[in-house]
């Protein structure tokens, strides 16, 4: 099989396994929607100021939870499932066959991108009907989709990279949550930044990819300015993740 056909073939099997794993499919899609409902129920009537603009908090959360969903699906899920598969010997078995590593990663990252698009589509549709959120059209939509593509691929690559720091399956949820949860909070995903947001928090947002990604997605939903720097920052992290995964990825259970 040619590389392209083999990649598609791999994606097909990854996809089948994804939908048949009830926990995985459920958490990927239900979690962000559940948070969306909870946050808007609690805080949805307020107003968030982004620069000169004032946006309804419910609309803000549609964008935030889209970002949250993509990060969960691409980063957290990838890291945990991959560690579990490594523990069980699934990766070791696969590594015994002549599957080129590039195709292994490419097919799985492409599948994550597909899941991310689906997830954002569902979140946008739900947000539209429940909270009147509106996705942009035209060029803004195109830029938004570029960020989504770059972001989902990058967070997925980072998910693979972090498995090198996870000793075993038991450690996967704590390590993953310890890395991502503080960043989600410090990037305005759950609680919008206000005027009083401390400097150091702003810096965390500037350094790590989460805020860049969230801000770029907001541009698509809220009509706030879109900056290519955000895309570049996320892509830089993704590239670093890819390099680290290629270098440090492990196929065998640790003992």
């Amino acid at each position: 099989m040619s590389a392209a056909v083999l990649t598609l073939d791999q994606i097909r099997y990854v996809n089948k396994a994804f939908w048949r794993n009830p926990m995985r499919a459920f958490f990927t899609f239900a979690f962000p929607l559940m948070f969306l409902v909870i946050f808007t129920a609690l805080l949805g009537n307020g107003v968030v100021h982004i620069g000169p603009r004032a946006v309804k908090e419910s609309t803000y959360y549609v964008a935030s939870m889209a970002a949250f969903g993509v990060i969960t699906a691409c980063f957290s899920n990838t890291a945990m499932m991959t560690t579990f598969n490594r523990d069980d010997g699934v990766l070791k078995r696969l590594d015994g066959a002549p599957l080129p590593r590039a195709i292994f990663f490419a097919s799985r990252i492409l599948h994550s991108i597909f899941v991310a698009f689906l997830l954002v589509g569902i979140t946008a549709a739900f947000g539209h009907f429940a909270y009147g959120a509106q996705l942009a059209t035209g060029m803004t939509l195109l830029r938004f989709l570029v960020m989504l593509l770059v972001g989902s691929a990058s967070f997925c690559a980072l998910g693979y990279a972090i498995t090198a720091a996870i000793p075993n399956g038991d450690a996967a949820p704590p390590v993953v949550n310890f890395t991502i949860m503080p960043l989600l909070f410090l990037s305005g995903i759950f609680i919008p930044f206000g005027n009083g947001t401390p400097d150091w928090v702003q810096w965390v947002g500037r350094i790590f990819p989460v805020r860049h990604f969230a801000v770029a997605l907001q541009a698509g939903f809220l009509g706030t300015p879109f900056r290519w720097d955000d895309v570049a920052a996320v892509a830089g992290w993704g590239l670093a993740g890819l390099v680290l995964s290629v270098r440090y990825f492990e196929w065998e259970p640790r003992r």
């Binding site: 083999l6 396994a17 069980d88 010997g89 699934v90 070791k92 078995r93 015994g96 066959a97 002549p98």
Partner: protein, 331 residues
């Protein structure tokens, strides 16, 4: 009903050609499938493999025996390219597995002692997925039938029994049509019928000129399958040879056992103190002569020799003796 594994054996063996190089490795111009010299490997200071030499000609079935922790899996996984070695020369199908693993992979079939596949794919999907990774793979359904999983084809892997999952492992190992098979305890968890079917599959592969290296704890498996067994104890080879002659088994003495007749006792060395069931067991360096005298006595005195048998040391006896002498290896 499970489909027997050997239902396709006839398709497998095109002719009754003799085994590749097993018969005459010396005359064969073909280089050996595996050649290992002075192989060593330690895990954080503890030596698991301490200088193993091994040569496996093309077409041979070679069985590695040895107690738990002897270093069998370590050796096999170094040959597969999974683990690095500390010292020694290793050549597998003309490649060094440490540096040329990519060239080796398409030609190897592996059954791991411990590994797994994606639990949410079906048997057929799993085998097909692996088949697509090999350039010259075999028919997916043919291989599934060969390992006796045809009736479970559409079942997800999570729904398979332990033994069926091992059979699936075997199917994955076979589907790439490999030249060399590594089977690490391949039939552990198989029911007796499945084990015999698996043996037939392995034999048929060897008839096609494939080379097989297997590890096992079942002596009957080694006895039935192997052209040669290699006994490893504490990371060293302590004996090797065809199962029939391992440890000079064919020349070792035999035991003769029978129930002592109630009325009469054979003279001298023909008898011994009976056990609780009334059986005596005598050791014979030359069982033919001893048996002749014993049966001659029995005919003359019109005595039955109930339960008369000549017991040769089994492969298991030889193995136990060898590993006992090897000493403290399983610690």
């Amino acid at each position: 009903m499970p489909t027997p594994m050997h239902s396709h054996l006839t398709d497998l063996a095109p002719s009754s050609s003799p085994r590749g190089g097993a018969a005459s490795p010396a005359l064969s111009p073909v280089p050996p499938a595996i050649s290992v010299h002075g192989l060593r490997k330690s895990y954080s200071g503890v030596e698991a493999v301490r200088g193993i030499d091994l040569e496996v000609p093309v077409g041979e079935i070679c069985a590695l025996l040895g107690p738990n922790g002897a270093g069998k899996t370590t050796t096999v996984e170094i040959l597969e390219g999974y683990r690095s070695r500390d010292a020694g020369r290793v050549e597998v199908l003309g490649c060094d597995p440490a540096t040329e693993r990519g060239r080796l992979k398409p030609r190897l079939g592996i059954v791991f002692q411990e590994a797994a596949v994606e639990p949410y794919l079906t048997v057929r999907e799993t085998v097909a997925m692996y088949a697509h990774l090999y350039p010259g793979h075999r028919g997916v359904d043919e291989v599934i039938e060969l390992v006796g999983l045809a009736h479970r084809r559409a079942e997800r892997v999570v729904g398979l029994s332990g033994g069926q999952q091992r059979r699936l492992e075997m199917a994955i190992a076979l589907v790439g049509d490999p030249d060399l098979l590594f089977l690490d305890e391949p039939t552990t968890g198989f029911d007796p019928a499945a084990r015999h079917e698996a043996w037939e599959v392995v034999r048929a592969l060897a008839r096609l000129g494939k080379t097989v290296v297997l590890t096992t704890h079942y002596m009957d498996e080694a006895q039935y399958l192997a052209d040669r067994v290699v006994v490893i104890v504490g990371g060293r080879v302590v004996a090797e040879g065809p199962p029939a002659t391992l440890g000079l088994r064919q020349r070792a003495g035999a035991r003769i056992r029978y129930r002592l007749p109630a009325q009469d006792t054979p003279p001298g060395e023909l008898a011994a103190a009976p056990d609780a069931d009334g059986f005596v067991e005598i050791h014979a360096e030359d069982p033919v002569a001893l048996l002749h005298r014993l049966t001659g006595w029995a005919l003359e005195h019109e005595q039955p020799l109930e339960g008369l048998e000549v017991i040769r040391p089994s492969l298991e006896d030889v193995y136990l003796e060898l590993t006992r002498r090897g000493g403290g290896a399983s610690t």
